[in-house]
């Protein structure tokens, strides 16, 4: 006989699958929702449902945006540098770079980095779309801000090789970040330094 009802265990397991949440935290969250008399559980359930149904990827930069819009706010904005494009791994990286207040160009979100072990090859990322965008012309600089990991570096090199023949300046942002650090965890000052000290590669 199971000690914990199936539905409770199911939520614990679902929480455990999230990054940064261990089994203890998963149980704590689950039992909190179970005994909490406010509508925290309902609010969470609703937010989760809306997360998928009311968001979409921007067809230009592949950042997340509200469903029903044609393009995201950044792509739509007239006030940004149209000749610089910054390539990142995830939408979270866009938020971090925006918060740094030091970048005013456009973005392209790859949704991952090359990792053959995990079966992530160029065709599994928004690579083709990036190359098409850049080949259309208009950009004079491409900043590759993938994480300073082995996989992030492999991705950066792959992009550079693919676009090598174009008259465009390449820079790699990751150098100013602590080794092994991810963009997500860098504080705004570190990022500002990294942005101003970005190197051609």
């Amino acid at each position: 006989m199971a000690l914990i009802p199936e539905s409770v265990q199911a939520l614990i397991d679902a929480f455990s699958r999230l990054p940064g949440i261990g089994p203890r935290t998963a149980s704590r969250l689950t039992f909190f929702l179970l005994k909490n008399e406010s509508d925290a559980g309902e609010a969470l359930a609703e937010a989760l449902t809306k997360l998928k149904s009311e968001t979409a990827f921007c067809p230009e930069c592949f950042n997340i945006m509200s469903a029903g819009k044609e393009r995201c706010d950044i792509c739509d904005s007239n006030g940004r540098d149209n000749d610089v494009i910054c390539v990142v791994e995830s939408p979270m990286d866009v938020i971090v770079l925006e918060q740094s207040g030091g970048y005013f160009g456009k973005y392209h979100v790859l949704h991952g980095a090359l990792s053959p072990i995990e079966g992530i090859n160029p065709e599994d990322l928004r690579m083709k779309e990036l190359f098409e965008r850049v080949e259309k012309g208009g950009f004079t600089e491409i900043i590759v801000a993938t994480n300073p990991s082995m996989e992030g570096d492999a991705t950066a090199l792959y992009i550079r090789r693919k676009l090598d023949r174009l008259p465009i300046q390449f820079s790699r942002l990751a150098r100013g970040l602590p080794v092994g650090g991810e963009l997500e965890y860098a504080d705004p000052n570190t990022l500002l330094r990294a942005l101003s000290g970005r190197q051609k590669f």
Binding site: Q9, D13, P23, P116, P122, L157
Partner: protein, 414 residues
């Protein structure tokens, strides 16, 4: 270095063990499978941060505790380096529901979380197990492991280069298989080739340099062990075409500049090898050149011991390699490593035992396991600490059973 205290929780058969560790030589007496070797294993884990005896690190967690959530095995050592007390703690953690069990380890140096690559080398140790003769006559992987464990503990940057290299090889092999099965742009290999070349060159150069020094240290040891009859030599056989051994024999110039020059040269050699083999590698789905395929041979009197040596010769040669390991670590880390000997004496003859004793009496600290005390003289036992282990319990005042005065005293250690 001096180990002062060992604490184990849920490690192998030990639910809990707290023990001060005496200076000098500690003899652990006990029958088979009572947990003597686990003590050595836990200490060697503090030196290497990976298991030597279990299939996987998670198997080190005590069986009865394994189903707990989380299940935590803990090793804590308190030791002294040049009068400064230090503390190293390792936690092996298995957590999550049965179908989503996750394993991870935490390493804390002076109470602060760190990683294996930074912490390695702080607690240098040499482990001697009976089956380690595989280093001489086993598969090439055993010899690579011998070098990796030793160099990770003593060459700054080696453990990191090894971990980066190994990961890059895995990534490259996965990509080779994708290219072989589905086609695609082989240009994607360029980045991984670059990593293999850079980290691989670091490993190759340090292995080549170390083997030269180790060979001369082991040679002196073997001369002592065989009364000058056997001359040991070692040959490094890297998995690289057109590798020039003489490149490393130029001992007149050494130092950082020479090393950088060697790394640059080997790095371009690895790159050339990888590029030449690209089509072959894609067909096979594995990387065929580089330090993950290195070999090292040990010879005595110019005859390969691994292939032609007798059982006794293999054992004696291993002993010489272990002596070399101790001398190497002493030189590189500036401290005498902790010696961990498992059932080593019973397999050796009297003169080898005496040599081993000389090593043990060299001022370092050692922990020696044995099933009985028959190989040790009463006089020797009188000077050392003897503890007895029975079913995970340490008896610090066991009845001492020195050898029978009627038996031949010739073999005993004095």
């Amino acid at each position: 270095m001096r180990l002062k205290h060992l604490s184990l929780t849920n490690f192998r058969s030990y639910a809990r063990l707290e023990s001060e560790i005496p200076d000098g030589i500690l003899l652990l007496k006990g029958g088979n499978a009572v947990g003597k070797t686990s003590i050595l294993e836990s200490l060697f884990y503090c030196a290497t941060f990976s298991t030597t005896l279990a299939q996987q690190d998670r198997h080190l967690i005590r069986f009865e505790a394994e189903s707990e959530d989380p299940a935590v095995a803990r090793i804590v050592v308190v030791y002294d380096v040049e009068g400064k007390e230090r503390k190293l703690e390792i936690r092996l953690i298995l957590e999550g529901a049965a179908d989503v069990r996750r394993f991870r380890k935490e390493i804390l140096a002076e109470g602060r979380k760190t990683n294996a690559q930074s912490a390695i080398g702080q607690f240098p140790a040499v482990l001697f197990l009976p089956h380690m003769t595989e280093i001489i006559d086993g598969a090439p992987g055993e010899r690579r492991r011998y070098l990796n464990i030793l160099l990770s503990q003593s060459i700054p940057g080696y453990a990191r280069a090894l971990s980066q290299y190994s990961r890059a090889v895995l990534q490259r092999n996965a990509l080779l298989r994708t290219l072989g099965e589905r086609g695609g742009d082989p240009g994607q290999l360029a980045y991984w080739d670059e990593l293999l070349a850079a980290h691989g060159a670091f490993l190759t150069v340090h292995r080549a340099q170390a083997i030269q020094t180790l060979a001369s240290l082991a040679q002196s040891a073997l001369l002592r062990l065989t009364d000058g009859r056997e001359i040991l030599s070692m040959r490094y056989v890297p998995a690289l075409r057109t590798f020039d051994e003489t490149f490393f024999q130029d001992s007149a110039s050494s130092g950082a500049a020479k090393e950088a020059e060697r790394i640059a040269a080997i790095s371009s050699l690895i790159r050339t090898n990888l590029e030449a083999d690209r089509a072959l590698d894609i067909r096979r789905g594995v990387s065929t050149v580089g330090p993950h395929r290195d070999e090292m041979r040990v010879m005595t009197n110019a005859v390969d011991v691994g292939t032609y040596g007798s059982r006794g010769q293999v054992r004696t040669t291993l002993l010489a390699l272990k002596f070399a390991e101790v001398d190497w670590l002493k030189d590189k880390t500036g401290t005498i490593p902790l010696l961990l000997l498992d059932e080593t004496f019973s397999e050796l003859d009297a003169s080898r035992r005496r040599e081993l004793m000389r090593l043990l009496n060299g001022g370092g600290q050692a922990i020696v396991t044995t099933t009985d005390l028959i190989n040790f003289s009463a006089d020797f036992l009188g000077r050392q600490t003897v503890w007895e282990i029975r079913g995970g319990i340490m008896d610090k005042n066991p009845e001492r059973v020195p050898m029978d005065s009627n038996s031949a005293a010739g073999d005993a250690l004095t």
